[in-house]
Every structure is written in structure tokens, then in C-alpha cells.
């Protein structure tokens, strides 16, 4: 990882490589389709979403297949980011100061590595719930070959896991677009300013700077 040229010639910092951005949006697009079609089947008030997503029967046919795609995306993200997402002893103090983070008092926050503990929670939340959604989704996909009780249980677990991911998704989208200025650009164009990197991921930024100077 450290062999990548993270300090760009234009003075900016490479936050996400092209591969990382591509996989992120592969996961994002498949999740949004799952979300919209899933909400259509969740509530009669949102059934119109099924028509937006291609038609009612089309939505039903494609929802499980997009689930397979999303699973592939989650596996790719795990291989790509799994190491950076590992919990460290340092994370505890970050969570203890979460109040400062919420109130935008970032100068009082302990420094974060490539991903802060909140991002790690998002990642593992999607990973674990994604796994449970896959298992219960397969049961709901082939109801004929599964006992009745298991099917009902799968329906409940599928709904609860989906709701948990929706909670994570709302926070993720809010923070990525409105709250953390510069974050959305990082996952589109890939780069952030040095100031951004130093503010939000100081440990990560310092490691990059150290690596680049030691290589010189």
C-alpha cells in the first residue's frame, strides 16, 4: 500500500485509487437498487418505487440478483479495506470523544488513521448485515424448498438487517455529501487536499509524508 504514490505532483493527496473508487460505486449502485426495490416490497406506500426500478415483476426478479452483485462488492471491499478496517486499541478514545466529533469540535478529536472508528463501524455494519441479508435473502428467494417457520424468520431477520443498513446508509450519505466537505470529491476524483488529510486522518497523512520523505 505504501508503495503507491500517495502525494500527488499537484500538491494534493490521493485518498482512493481508481480501483477503490470503482469498487465503492459498484457497491453503492447495487445497494441503492436493492434499497429502492426492497423499500417497494417493504411498504405499500412505497410500492411505486418498484415501477421506477423497472416494473413490479422486474424489480422482484432483479432484487435477488442485485443482492448477489452487492455480495460480490462487499467481498471485494473486504479484500481491499479489511486490513485498514481492523479495530485498534486507539479507537476507544475516539469513541469516548464522539460528542466532540458530532459537535464539529474536530480539534479535540484524537487523530485517526486511514479510516476513523466511525468508518470502521460503517464497514463492519454493512459486512455483517450484508452476510445475514444474503443468507435470509436466499431463503426468501426459494421459499418452496424451505420449511415455513424458517421462511417467516428469514423475513423478519432480512427486514431488521436491511433497516440497520438503512440507518448506516443515511449517516454515510449525509456525512459523505453534506457534512464532510471534500469527502465526496475524494470518492469521485480520488484526491483530497493536504489540509483535509491532516485534519480528518492525521495518522494516515503523517505516515504518507514520512514514507515519501524516507524514500527520497
Amino acid at each position: 500500500m505504501s508503495s503507491e504514490p500517495y502525494l500527488l505532483p499537484n500538491g494534493r493527496v490521493l485518498r482512493y485509487t481508481f480501483r477503490e473508487r470503482l469498487i465503492h460505486w459498484f457497491a453503492g449502485v447495487s445497494y441503492v437498487y436493492l434499497l429502492l426495490t426492497g423499500l417497494a416490497f417493504w411498504s405499500p406506500w412505497l410500492f411505486w418505487l418498484a415501477f421506477v426500478c423497472g416494473g413490479d415483476t422486474v424489480s422482484r426478479e432483479l432484487h435477488p440478483w442485485f443482492g448477489v452483485l452487492f455480495t460480490v462488492a462487499v467481498i471485494l471491499m473486504y479484500r481491499m479495506w479489511g486490513r485498514d478496517m481492523k479495530e485498534t486499541p486507539h479507537d476507544k478514545s475516539w469513541w469516548e470523544n464522539i460528542g466532540h466529533y458530532i459537535r464539529n469540535q474536530d480539534e479535540l478529536m484524537p487523530s485517526a488513521d486511514r479510516f476513523n472508528p466511525g468508518q470502521k463501524l460503517l464497514f463492519w455494519g454493512f459486512f455483517v448485515n450484508g452476510l445475514l441479508l444474503l443468507i435470509t435473502g436466499v431463503i426468501l428467494w426459494f421459499p418452496q424448498s424451505v420449511p415455513l417457520f424458517l421462511r417467516g424468520l428469514a423475513g423478519i431477520v432480512h427486514a431488521i438487517c436491511a433497516l440497520l443498513t438503512i440507518g448506516l446508509f443515511i449517516i454515510h450519505v449525509y456525512m459523505g455529501t453534506a457534512m464532510e466537505r471534500g469527502a465526496f470529491g475524494s470518492v469521485i476524483r480520488g484526491d483530497v487536499s493536504r489540509a483535509w488529510a491532516a485534519k480528518h486522518h492525521r495518522t494516515w497523512f503523517e505516515n504518507i509524508v514520512r514514507d515519501s520523505t524516507s524514500r527520497r
Binding site: F47, D56, E61
Partner: protein
């Protein structure tokens, strides 16, 4: 249904009262299946196929007279044959015509997410509208009688309609029409209940079936198909008729409290982040913080 709309309210130039006015007419229909007079001839199975336009498919021989192990998407009516050792009467061959029960509280309808795919008519018939069905199979999970069946070719779910097309025209369902012994009856719910109770009493008093009774499961709010059984204490012996069927608690929880809790949580979450933005605003980065040049953040 059509009878209800054609009930006369006023008559022009008519001396005296409107005939039938003031009477409380019942539109709830009911099919009564008297298992004690069924001979297992399967005329009802054939009539069902003929009226609904399905052809005979391959049958399965499993050492009984039963046509196939279970009903199918294109085989809605199946007589279940079961051997039963009765304490007084010895070996009996129980024959029960199995089909949709047309529950007053239909689990299929509760579980279904597709707008208008399952309807319950005012006469009690629960009918699938395949044009609106998306083939998700939730109805199969909601049904305590394992009735709705998925068609892999149509990608939709099918079941007995209680011949809603015939009933709407004042005809009895095809199975009733074909029954040679008269073990099948069709009429209003209260009439069928009276007939069933009378038959059950007859069985108890004159035919030494002390446990004879009527099967009209309360757990699903009663049904629009009821049975007379020789032994109402043991409906399971009749090819797995559940003794206390109800909509699975998992489906109840999923479709009612969990739904409202989830909707509340989603809306609260969206409002929550909006409120956060109003109160605290975005996290901005001053470009001179790290002494770095270039690029907007």
C-alpha cells in the same frame, strides 16, 4: 356479489312495500365438505381442472389412492387419502378434499406486498389477481395451510378461487357441481354451519362417532370452507389439517409492529441528520491548517 348489487331498494309505481326489504340477507358464501360421505371418486379434482382450463399432468403413485403428494399451482383440488385406526371402528380410510380454505383472516393477503395481487371479496372469497402478482412467494409463507403454489413458468402464484367467476354469476363452484354423493355443499356461511352441525350431531348420536364435529378454524377468524370430520379432535389425521391454524407469528410481527417501528426509524434517521446539519453545519477545512497549497476541499 352480483346478487348484492341487484338487490332491489325501490320500485316505481309499486303498491305496498318492496319485496325483501328489511330482510338481512347474508352474502358470505361457504363450501361444506362432509368427509364422512366422501367416497374419494375425485370427480371434484377433474371438475376443477376442467372448469379452470388445466390439463391432467403426471400423477405420482405413493401406495395410496391419492393423485399426487400435494396440490400444485395447476392442481388446486386434491383428495388426501389417509389410513386411520379408529378406536371403535377399526381401520378407516379418511378422505379429505384439500384446497384453499378462504380464511376470514387470510395470511396470504396479510403477507403480500404487491398492490392488488390478493383481494377478499365481500362474500368471503379470497382471490389471487395474477396480473398484479409479482411472484415473491410471501403468500406461501403467510398461509397456515400450505395452499398457494408458485408456477415456475408463469413466475406467479396460483390457488383455488372458490370459482369466484361462477359464484359471481350465481352458480356453485365446479367441484360442488360434480360431487356424486352430495358430500359437498355450497351456500351461505350460516346455512352451511347449520347443515354441518346437524350432520355432526347425527354422527355423534346415531353413528357412534362421539368426537364428530365441524372444522371451522377460529385461529384464522373462521373459514369459507368448512369440514365435517368423524373425529374433530384429531384433524391432523386427515392429511395434516392443522388443529389450530393461525397466521405464523413471524409474519404477524414482520408485517405489523416491525413495519411501523422500521418506518418510524427511517423517518427519524433522515430528520435526525437534517437537524444535525441545521444545528452544527458542515465540517470545513481551512486550507492553511497544514500549510498545504492547491485544490478546493
Amino acid at each position: 356479489m352480483s346478487q348484492a348489487t341487484l338487490e332491489i331498494r325501490r320500485i316505481s309505481g309499486h303498491a305496498g312495500s318492496v319485496p325483501g326489504a328489511g330482510f338481512n340477507r347474508e352474502y358470505d358464501v361457504c363450501k361444506l365438505i362432509d368427509t364422512t360421505t366422501c367416497i374419494g371418486c375425485k370427480a371434484c379434482e377433474v371438475a376443477c381442472l376442467e372448469w379452470n382450463g388445466y390439463t391432467f399432468t403426471e400423477t405420482t403413485f405413493n401406495n395410496s389412492y391419492q393423485t399426487m403428494p400435494d396440490t400444485a399451482w395447476n392442481y388446486w383440488n386434491l383428495i388426501r387419502f389417509n389410513e386411520y385406526e379408529h378406536p371403535q371402528h377399526g381401520m378407516m380410510l379418511l378422505m379429505r378434499k384439500d384446497q384453499c380454505m378462504h380464511c376470514e383472516e387470510p395470511g396470504c393477503l396479510v403477507a403480500c406486498p404487491a398492490d392488488g395481487a390478493i383481494v377478499q371479496y365481500a362474500n368471503g372469497i379470497v382471490d389471487f389477481q395474477q396480473a398484479n402478482c409479482i411472484g415473491c412467494g410471501y403468500c406461501m409463507t403467510g398461509c397456515p395451510f400450505n395452499i398457494p403454489k408458485f408456477s415456475p413458468t408463469a413466475r406467479k402464484v396460483f390457488k383455488c378461487t372458490l370459482c369466484s367467476d361462477r359464484v359471481s354469476q350465481g352458480l356453485e363452484p365446479a367441484c360442488i357441481k360434480s360431487c356424486p354423493t352430495g358430500c359437498l355443499h355450497f351456500g351461505t356461511k350460516s346455512d352451511m354451519k347449520d347443515l354441518a352441525s346437524a350432520r355432526a350431531a347425527q354422527l355423534r348420536e346415531h353413528s357412534s362417532f362421539p368426537n364428530a364435529g365441524v372444522y371451522d378454524p377460529a385461529g384464522v377468524g373462521g373459514a369459507h370452507v368448512i369440514y365435517v370430520l368423524h373425529d374433530a379432535t384429531n384433524p391432523e389425521a386427515y392429511g395434516g389439517l392443522p388443529s389450530n391454524p393461525r397466521i405464523p407469528w413471524t409474519v404477524q410481527l414482520w408485517k405489523k409492529p416491525l413495519k411501523w417501528l422500521g418506518n418510524f426509524a427511517i423517518v427519524a434517521g433522515a430528520l435526525g441528520v437534517f437537524a444535525h446539519y441545521l444545528r452544527f453545519g458542515p465540517k470545513t477545512v481551512k486550507e492553511d491548517e497544514a500549510g498545504a497549497e492547491g485544490g478546493k476541499s
